[in-house]
Every structure is written in structure tokens, then in C-alpha cells.
């Protein structure tokens, strides 16, 4: 299926002095999806986001937005929630929200009109006349999220959007992100939380040390990293189960519970689920059977975990 890309980076290079932060990065963000931008600390994620949002210019390479080179400042179509984010502490909540929306190109009336529903959705109406410094950190995070999305950006870039939120608020924000996606917003989601990547993202790019080391759909990636492991839950004798496997399969792990047994089976030589299941049902009562795909977390650790992480200030 040919995907339409809203934003593409081509051969992007960025240097800080002699230090090459981004090395020939290519990245394509499909329209209307939640796209995961992953990478360890100091990999260059923030710098990449900054070049994509025109905060800093790349030293070489091209950024294509909706098929055309990104030249003019497109801030009104972008919404960016940086990882390190803050507000003017002395300003009032409403004043601040209006100001930041106006800076995005809305006029005052529009800004008010668009902010109101978000203040309702996030239960923040009563904060309007309070000073920002009176809000708790979580409240400020909520306000920042509302301000980032209020001007209805076409492309929303969220850098660790859940940090600082309790589980209840995390769930709320997650649902709002999904709603926005369903309304047609493209979302770039940068995080270290791999569980949320599996849950939300269709496609990802993983960068490490300024290089794009992995791109593709989450499903394809997980399949390609599959080690042909199968998860079987059954009732019956362990010995019978072991005998059924033959030489093509091998038990990786087996755990007995009072009711049933859980086993992880490793297939050799490209043997598939069909053969395994055919043999097994003749000997034991199979309760469940599925291929065990590696988690994004496993893949992440596999690819970058062995490398020593350098932590740089971002």
C-alpha cells in the first residue's frame, strides 16, 4: 500500500561544532497516523525534531512538507510539545493560553473559541484566572497539552507527552491523542515507553547516535525480529508434550500451574505453527496457541542496549 507522507526528512545532517549530531537521516512520516520516533538518550531525537519543526536549520538535507520543500515558517500547522517544557510563571492561565495561541497565528476570538472546548475536556475551566505558578506540575502539563493542540495543527509532535502525569491523566491524554488521530491529525510521538509505542504507533523510526537504524511498521518489525517462538497453553502430561515435539522443535521454557501448563517452544529450520499445532493436538489438550513476537522493548534493547549510552544535555 502506497502511504502518503505529510513530512519527510531527506539526508539530514547537523553539526554542533565538529560534533555530528545527525548523520544523513532519512525519515518519512505517514499522514494520519501516530508515528513513533524512538531512540536512547542523546541519540539526536530532540535535534531531529528541532530541524523538522524549523527551530534549527539542518546543515544539509531537505525537509519536505506535503510534497513541497519546507521553506516558509509553517508554525500554524505544527503543534509541538517539547520534552523540556514550561510556561510564563507570572502570567494568568487564560492570558497565557491566549497568547500562545495567538503566536501560532490565531486571532483572539478564534483562540478563545478553540481553547474553550479543551478547557472543558480537561476540566480546567476554573483555572482561567489563576496564575500559572499556582498550578501543580501535573496541572501545568495538562495546560501545555491543551495549548499545543488548541490551534488544530495538522502535524502534532509530542515529546514524552506522558511524563509528569498520573495513570488517570495518562489515560485521559492517551484517549485525546487517539481522538485527534481519528480526526485526521498526524502525530509524531517520541518516547522511551515502549509499551505505549506498541499500543499507539503504526510506524516507527529508531535512531541511535544520529543514525536511522530502523524504520517500518511496528507489526513488520516485530515479525522480522521474531525468533520463531510459540506460546502454548495446554492440559495434559508434560512428557507427552515433549514427545510430541520431535526434533524440529525444542522447549525453551515450561511452567506448570495447578490448572494447566505454559510452554514456550522454539522452532528449528523454519518449521511453522501448522506442523507444531498438528502434532500437539494429537497428544495434549491445547487451550491457547500463538506465535510469541518480541516486544518493542526487546527490539530496542537488542539494537541499542549493547551500545554504551552517552548522555548529553539536550
Amino acid at each position: 500500500m502506497q502511504m502518503k507522507h505529510i513530512l519527510e526528512g531527506k539526508n539530514i545532517n547537523k553539526f554542533y561544532g565538529n560534533f555530528r549530531v545527525l548523520k544523513d537521516i532519512n525519515i518519512s512520516i505517514p499522514e494520519g497516523q501516530i508515528f513513533g520516533l524512538l531512540g536512547p538518550n542523546g541519540a539526536g531525537k530532540t535535534t531531529l525534531i528541532r530541524t523538522l519543526t524549523q527551530i534549527t536549520a539542518p546543515d544539509s538535507g531537505e525537509i519536505i512538507y506535503k510534497g513541497l520543500p519546507l521553506k516558509a515558517y509553517k508554525s500554524s500547522e505544527f503543534g509541538y510539545l517539547p520534552e523540556e517544557r514550561g510556561l510564563y510563571r507570572k502570567m494568568k492561565v487564560g492570558e497565557q493560553a491566549l497568547y500562545l495561541c495567538q503566536i501560532k497565528g490565531l486571532d483572539k476570538k478564534e483562540a478563545l473559541h478553540k481553547l474553550k472546548p479543551w478547557f472543558e475536556k480537561l476540566a480546567m475551566e476554573s483555572w482561567w484566572n489563576r496564575k500559572v505558578e499556582e498550578l501543580s506540575k501535573g496541572m501545568q502539563q495538562k495546560l501545555q497539552f491543551a495549548i499545543t493542540v488548541a490551534h488544530s495543527p495538522k502535524l502534532l509532535i509530542l515529546d514524552e507527552p506522558f511524563s509528569g502525569f498520573d495513570p488517570v491523566n495518562t489515560e485521559t491524554i492517551k484517549n485525546h491523542i487517539l481522538d485527534l488521530k481519528n480526526e485526521g491529525t498526524t502525530i509524531v510521538f517520541s518516547t522511551h515507553n515502549m509499551a505505549s509505542v506498541e499500543e499507539l504507533c503504526q510506524n516507527i523510526t529508531l535512531i541511535n547516535r544520529g543514525e536511522n537504524i530502523l524504520s517500518g511498521s511496528v507489526n513488520d518489525i516485530r515479525k522480522s525480529f521474531s525468533k520463531s517462538l510459540f506460546q502454548v497453553q495446554f492440559k495434559g502430561s508434560k512428557v507427552a508434550f515433549a514427545n510430541a515435539l520431535g526434533y524440529q522443535f525444542e522447549i525453551d521454557e515450561i511452567i506448570e500451574t495447578p490448572d494447566h501448563t505454559n510452554a514456550t517452544v522454539l522452532a528449528h529450520n523454519g518449521s511453522g505453527s501448522k506442523e507444531l499445532l498438528t502434532w500437539l493436538i494429537q497428544h495434549v489438550e491445547v487451550i491457547s496457541f500463538h506465535e510469541k513476537l518480541p516486544s518493542m522493548n526487546d527490539i530496542f534493547l537488542d539494537l541499542v542496549g549493547s551500545l554504551q549510552n552517552e548522555t548529553r544535555p539536550s
Binding site: 554542533y16 561544532g17 528541532r50 519543526t53 524549523q54 527551530i55 534549527t56 515558517y73 508554525s75 505544527f78 509541538y80 510539545l81 517539547p82 523540556e84 517544557r85 514550561g86 510556561l87 510564563y88 510563571r89 507570572k90 502570567m91 497568547y99 500562545l100 495567538q102 503566536i103 501560532k104 497565528g105 501545555q144 495549548i147 499545543t148 544535555p313 539536550s314
Partner: protein
């Protein structure tokens, strides 16, 4: 659209500052202090008074023959030439020589050449005596009506001259423009310092608040920096305008309180109140006019060319402020907190501090080589040129003013350009404090 954004930034920077309590307090306290100083100076000059014995040279002799003073101020009217009068002044115990020239009715001015500067009170009294004398003599001539009265009014200026012996030209001794220039120069120093530091603080605040990245995803760093600089500068101009307005109001008020009672124009107005009895209200306004016109110190202040002074002040404040605040914005962007700024602030503001310290020398010797150079070099020119302009620059030296202005404009454009480059990189840098060498490298990022 970008102009619109920069406007929004200016608006925010401006209004968050002028709404602060500290701004309102400063706006009121500043003029109170200034007016207090002025009033105090006036009051002390009024208090001291010695007996004055004045030799009057009347070119229209015997027109002023019956001029009368008071017990402390005696006149001796003579029909001699000015040079003879000066010779007489030198050898006699006259304290001063009052010269009333032939064309006094047209020029409406005379000259007082003194040995020791007479107090303002004395000068005022001489003026009043003569004005009254002239008015009385005119009243005899004219038919009396309100319109006649207006025509009869004869404002009189007293120019004081230090007597330097016969044959030497007496030197006018009005120090006031220089003092006002010094005050304006010092004001420029404080304004530039105060407001460029505010720009730096504002930049640091945005950086430590971590709002900077949100902001520059919406506007260009240069817009944000210029918006801040212009917004804060507008706050400075507002403060200045408020100070001027309030100072004038307070000074006029103070003048009334101080002089209104002592010199209530009863003696002057005695003959006139009869004439305009029926027009009490109008007479009130006339009294007001007279009072404010007759006071000598205020006359002198009025002779200072305030429109030029204020225009020069605004130019040099804005030029100097743009130059320094751009540099300060760069400093603010390079560091994470106030304490790290010291290392950079000192070298940057040193020329400004130097200008402030040397301004007293320039005040005394405004055309020395040092004064000329300092008034041309952009980092010191705002303070120094202000003082020189106030004292007065000869038309042959006007090129210095133009050169100084051109250099100031050129250097603030340069500073804004350079700071914009540093700012753009600096605002996104956190962590260790960069060295000056590293900061200069950012110019090429």
C-alpha cells in the same frame, strides 16, 4: 503575519512590565525625588540673602531716577557710560552693576554684572522692581482697560555676568544647561543599564522556565529577541515620559508652594487689581502666568531648549539601549541563571560605567579631547554626547554629533545581528556555562 507576531511579543513584554508594582512605584518615586531636589535647590537659593547695593546705569536717564528697592536692596541710578560704571564697580563697595540700555522698552532686558552671584530672591526682586516701574510708567500713558493692561505687560529677562575686570567681556554664568545635561546623561546611564539588564533577565527567565522551545516553534528566535528588546525599550520610554510629566507637574506645584506666598504679586498687582476688578477670574490666570514667568530659575530652565534635549535623549537612549540590550540578550541566552552572568556583564557594561564616571569631567570640560572621543565612540557616546549637547556644541563641531549618531546606529545594527546569531544557539543550550570563545564559535553554527 510575522510583523503581527512580533507585535504580540512586544505587547506582552510591555504590558507585563508596566503592570508591575515596581514599575508604578518607580514612576512615582523618580519624579518625587527629582522635584524634591529641584525644590530644595530653589528653597536654599531663596533663603540666603545679603544686602545689595546696586549701581544702576540708566541710558535713558533720568527715566529710572525714582527706581526704589527695599531696605536690603538699594539702587543708585547714575547717568554714566557702562565702562565708567564698571570702573566704579571695581573700586567701590557696590555689589553689582545693573545696566539698563537705551532700547530697554523694546528689548525688555537689562544686564546685571555682579561681583558675587546674587541669590535668586535678589534677582527676582530686581526684575520685579523694574517691571513694576516700567508698568507704572506705562500706566500713566495709556487709557486703562483690560486690553491696555495686556499691552502694558513687560516681561523682563535678567542675564547675569561675572565681572572680570574692565575691558574684559563679562561671561554669562548660566550653569543650568550643563547641570540639566548631566542629569540627562546620568538618566541615560541608568535607563540603559536598568532596561538592558531587564532584557537579559527576561531571556534567562524564558530559558529557565523552558518556555523558550515552545516559543521558537512558533516564532523565529530573532523575532522573539527583537520583540523583547523593543517591548522593554518601550517600557523605558514610558517611564521617561512619566517622569518628565510628573516632574514638571510637581516642580510647578512646588514653585507655587514656595514662591506663591512670598512673592504673592500684591505689590505688583496693587495698581492693576483696581483696573481689572470686575474680571476676577481672568486676573487669576494672569497672576498665574506672571508668577511662573517671573521666577528667574524657572526662566532659566525655560531657556534650555527642552525639545532638542528630549529628542537627543530619546535618540541616545534608544541607540545606546539597543546596543547594550542586544549584547545583554546574547549574554542571557548563553547562561542558565543570573549568577553566571557576572563574568559577562562586567566587560560589556564597563564602557558604560566609565562614561558615567567620566561624565563629571566632561561636565567641567566639555570640549576636551577625551570628551570629544568619548562622545563619538558608540559604547560611551550616549551618556557623554548628551552632556555635550546640553552644554552646547559649536556649529563647527556639529560633524562630531553626526558621526557619533551614525556610529551608534551602525554599531547597534551590528550588535543586533551578532547577538541574534548567538541568541539563536544559546537559548537551546543547557548545562555547563560556555566560555567566551565557545560563544564566539556559535556565530558560525
Amino acid at each position: 503575519m510575522s510583523a503581527n507576531k512580533i507585535g504580540l511579543i512586544i505587547k506582552r513584554e510591555y504590558f507585563t512590565r508596566v503592570r508591575k508594582k515596581s514599575f508604578i512605584l518607580m514612576s512615582v518615586l523618580g519624579p518625587l525625588i527629582m522635584a524634591g531636589v529641584l525644590t530644595f535647590a530653589l528653597w536654599t537659593s531663596l533663603e540666603q540673602s545679603e544686602d545689595q547695593k546696586i549701581l544702576v546705569i540708566d541710558d535713558n536717564y533720568p527715566f529710572f531716577e525714582s527706581l526704589e528697592g527695599s531696605s536690603k536692596l538699594t539702587y543708585n541710578v547714575m547717568d554714566i557710560s557702562l565702562s565708567k560704571g564698571e570702573a566704579l564697580l571695581e573700586i567701590s563697595d557696590y555689589t553689582a552693576l545693573l545696566y539698563l540700555p537705551k532700547n530697554i522698552l523694546q528689548s525688555k532686558s537689562g544686564q546685571l554684572i555682579f561681583k558675587k552671584q546674587p541669590s535668586i530672591k535678589v534677582q527676582r526682586q530686581i526684575e520685579q522692581n523694574i517691571q513694576q516701574y516700567l508698568e507704572l510708567s506705562k500706566l500713566k500713558e495709556f487709557d486703562i482697560s483690560e486690553s491696555d493692561y495686556r499691552r502694558l505687560r513687560a516681561p523682563f529677562n535678567l542675564l547675569t555676568f561675572q565681572f572680570k575686570g574692565t575691558g574684559n567681556e563679562a561671561e554669562e554664568t548660566n550653569m543650568l544647561p550643563a547641570i540639566v545635561g548631566l542629569v540627562f546623561g546620568i538618566l541615560i546611564y541608568f535607563f540603559i543599564f536598568m532596561y538592558s539588564v531587564q532584557v537579559m533577565r527576561g531571556v534567562i527567565e524564558e530559558k529557565t522556565n523552558r518556555i523558550i522551545e515552545v516559543m521558537i516553534s512558533s516564532v523565529k528566535p530573532f523575532q522573539l529577541m527583537m520583540g523583547k528588546i523593543i517591548g522593554v525599550g518601550a517600557v523605558g520610554l514610558t517611564q521617561f515620559a512619566l517622569w518628565i510629566l510628573l516632574t514638571i507637574t510637581l516642580a510647578i506645584g512646588g514653585q507655587f508652594l514656595l514662591l506663591g506666598n512670598k512673592y504673592d504679586a500684591s505689590q505688583i498687582n496693587a495698581p492693576m487689581t483696581e483696573l481689572v476688578k470686575e474680571q476676577v477670574e481672568q486676573e487669576q490666570t494672569i497672576k498665574l502666568n506672571q508668577l511662573s514667568q517671573e521666577d528667574n530659575l524657572f526662566n532659566k530652565i525655560r531657556r534650555i531648549n527642552f525639545p532638542v534635549m528630549i529628542a537627543v535623549f530619546i535618540f541616545y537612549f534608544l541607540g545606546g539601549y539597543l546596543l547594550y540590550s542586544a549584547l545583554m540578550a546574547a549574554v542571557g541566552s548563553a547562561v542558565d541563571n543570573d549568577t553566571d552572568t557576572q563574568q559577562f556583564i562586567f566587560p560589556i557594561t564597563f564602557p558604560l560605567l566609565l562614561a558615567y564616571i567620566l561624565s563629571f569631567n566632561v561636565f567641567e570640560n566639555p570640549s576636551s579631547d577625551m570628551a570629544v572621543w568619548l562622545s563619538i565612540i558608540p559604547l560611551t557616546s550616549p551618556v557623554i554626547m548628551m552632556i555635550r549637547v546640553a552644554i552646547g556644541i559649536e556649529s563647527a563641531d556639529m560633524w562630531q554629533v553626526y558621526l557619533s549618531m551614525a556610529l551608534l546606529i551602525g554599531s547597534f545594527l551590528g550588535a543586533v545581528w551578532m547577538s541574534g546569531k548567538i541568541y539563536r544557539v544559546g537559548i537551546l543550550m543547557y548545562g555547563k556555562k560556555p566560555s567566551i570563545r565557545e560563544i564566539l564559535k556559535w556565530l558560525n553554527y
